[in-house]
Amino acid sequence: MKLTYQQDAAVREYLNRYIKYNEVKAEMYDHVMTALEHTPEDSVYGEAMNTVMNDIGGIKGLKAIQRSAKRTVIKAMVKQYLQSGKLVLSSFWMLPVICITGLAYFILPTGQPFMELFGIPFMGYLTGSGVRLWQKATRGYTEGSVVTAAFDTVVPFIQFLPVTILLIPKMMFFSFELPFPPVVFVSIIFLCLLHVATAIKFSSTQFDKANGLVA
């Protein structure tokens, strides 16, 4: 059957209501539309839609599909993030890393072993992995691949992992001084936010445009 504009809009609206992620939405939209198009011409839209949705498992099924897609992405992103650890050394030639490291060298006070040992490499790692994730995320969305596309919730989580693990508990539970002066700490957070915001905005727009979800 061929769907009218209103029926098409109803399918989109239904999926929008229950699916959060663009990739899953696009895949399910294509699935539902293809299934409806393959039903006989004289089918009633409501009945055909019910049959298609029953095969998917209804709202529960949609949510299960979304969860599985999210798990896949989290797994891939964590793997990618851990792998980026191997790339830290090769990341150091990148201009942002050189700038941050150079800046840190002049800003950080001397004589604190923790800072000297971990501070500068940590910032290099954070910046390097951030840049790589940003590149991967944008490329992924542009190509429309689920694995390389970073979901909105996954990127910030992973980006902030070092900050969350190393800095926040230290600030909250220990009376030790921050390993970095506040200005550097704020800069790191700003840098993370910038990466995340740019990645999400740019990549989501690219993805939406590529899939005809926005004009």
């Binding site: 895949e27 294509d30 539309m33 095969d55 897609a69 896949t72 429309g144 694995v147 899939n211 005809g212």
Partner: protein, 107 residues
């Protein structure tokens, strides 16, 4: 359908057909099994995502009829997995035949 066979079916179909999208897979299973095996999408997509997460499948997207269609295909690792999964399935069916003393049906 027996647990674990869905992945084998998906991998084998993709080996035979190159690349396929979700709806196509469900229809192919229906066609090959003459409607005896109904693959629900609620089971298919999580299985596809799982295989993708394990690195056995890769995806590409294309715009078809004005919407994004996601195609799944085997990765080199997935290609190797098909052989071992098929061997496992074959061995399992043999064991089942022995255990249940099944004889081929004469039509």
């Amino acid at each position: 359908m027996l647990k674990g066979t869905l992945q084998t079916i998906i991998l084998k179909l993709l080996e035979d057909n190159g690349r396929m999208y979700g709806y196509e897979i469900t229809q192919k299973v229906k066609e090959v099994s003459a409607g005896e095996v109904m693959l629900t999408e609620g089971a298919l997509y999580p299985a596809l995502h799982k295989l993708e997460g394990e690195g056995l499948l890769q995806t590409t997207s294309e715009i078809v009829d004005g919407r994004a269609r996601k195609y799944y295909s085997l990765t080199p690792q997935g290609g190797k997995a098909v052989t071992s999964k098929m061997e496992e399935a074959r061995a399992f069916i043999e064991q089942l035949q022995n255990l249940l003393d099944l004889k081929p049906a004469i039509k």
